[in-house]
């Protein structure tokens, strides 16, 4: 029996090799895209956390001035020019595509529950949120 001598790669082998390579490259590129997306999300989430935390601090400063100013309701926050201070304004406030809503609810006679919700859209049909809560006591009543 005469064996046929191998002369290199057949067409099939080349096609399979290119196929595997294509799959590998596509995989790596999509992996990188996922990493990039993840890092960008993290960045947005960090911005949202700071934005929410600022909301908490702003409500505390309003409560410091007057405990009764922190009344049950849903608010936005704004910096008033004169007198220069944080105030409740509207039903929400927006910064860099992020919407912040402060919800004040009654907890007990001297305490209010403050909820700061920051909402944004990482993609057109997706919604992400960060929620921070504190209890604020009006010491003037104690």
């Amino acid at each position: 029996m005469v064996m046929k001598k191998k002369r290199g790669q057949s067409m099939i082998e080349i096609i399979i090799a290119i196929g595997i390579m294509t799959v590998g490259i596509t995989f790596s590129v999509s992996l990188l895209m996922i990493v990039e997306k993840g890092v960008t999300q993290t960045s947005l989430e960090m911005q949202a956390i700071f934005y929410a935390e600022e909301g908490i601090q702003a409500v505390i400063s309003i409560g410091d001035r007057s405990g009764t100013a922190v009344a049950v309701g849903t608010y936005g926050l704004a910096v008033q020019a004169s007198p220069a201070e944080w105030i409740f304004s509207g039903a929400s406030d927006t910064q860099n595509g992020m919407t912040r809503v402060v919800t004040v609810s009654a907890y007990d006679a001297d305490t209010k529950k403050i909820d700061v919700l920051v909402t944004w859209h990482p993609a057109p049909n997706r919604t992400a949120t960060v929620d921070e809560q504190i209890l604020l006591t009006d010491w003037a009543f104690l």
Partner: protein, 240 residues
């Protein structure tokens, strides 16, 4: 048997074409990898720098005695100057020099708080305390009444020349000194009745907005750049 003569021209052309295709794919792939890698690095770098800078400023503001710059009552600017309880680090000044946020404590040299891989493209401090909220007239004792507190004598007496910001600071002094002192002061015109305009519990409520971006210089395109804007509000308590 036919003698092999090497590659035919068709084979060579095909081979080169396939090679070019593979090489092109690889190059595009590599460019993509480098581009995304640099973008990811920049986003991480920008995040870390912005967060560290803001947390540091937050902590220093909360432990300070007062802010001299920007001015009370809504003053706004890129430089923050704080009076610290420890005189060796007072004043502590935060400012941006050539895109780098620096902290200068007392007479020591300014220390950079952000790395050279990023640029602080915006830094704004807003000092949210209205001077009228604790305004006083010429030196005299002020007997005031704070409607915010149910206890009438909670916010009662302050001396306008002692640089204390809030009415109730002097209340214990009068208590220990006795009402006799107050009566004397009233009698000799050293004290007067007045209203303590809405006393705030904070010396300053400082709003900070910081934008950190990368790269620090050069051509900025969407693929090769990153930017983050963070906001924070820190309070200088009255008792500091």
């Amino acid at each position: 048997m036919k003698i092999r003569r090497g590659f035919s021209i068709i084979e060579t052309v095909l081979y080169v074409a396939i090679l070019i295709m593979i090489m092109a794919t690889m190059v595009i792939f590599l460019i993509n990898v480098v581009r995304r890698e640099s973008k990811v690095t920049m986003v991480l770098e920008v995040n870390q720098n912005a967060r560290f800078a803001l947390e540091k400023m937050n902590a220093v503001i909360r432990n300070s005695k007062d802010a001299t710059l920007p001015a009370d009552g809504g003053g706004s600017g890129p430089t923050l100057s704080l009076t610290m309880p420890d005189s060796s680090v007072s004043p502590t000044v935060f400012a941006v020099t050539n895109g780098v946020l620096t902290m200068k404590q007392g007479t020591a040299a300014a220390v950079p708080l952000t790395s050279s891989a990023v640029k602080v493209s915006n830094l704004t401090f807003t000092n949210l305390v209205d001077p009228t909220a604790h305004a006083r007239t010429s030196p005299a004792w002020v007997l005031c009444n704070d409607a915010q507190h149910n206890s009438v004598w909670y916010c009662v007496i302050c001396h306008v020349s002692d640089q204390k910001d809030y009415c109730w600071d002097q209340y214990p002094d009068y208590l220990s000194g006795g009402w006799f002192l107050l009566l004397l002061d009233l009698l000799f015109g050293q004290a007067k009745l007045g209203s303590c305009l809405q006393a705030t519990a904070a010396k300053s409520v400082m709003r900070i907005a910081i934008t950190v971006s990368a790269p620090p210089s050069g051509v900025v395109t969407n693929d090769y750049s990153a930017s983050v804007t963070l906001y924070a509000t820190a309070t200088i308590p009255r008792q500091n």
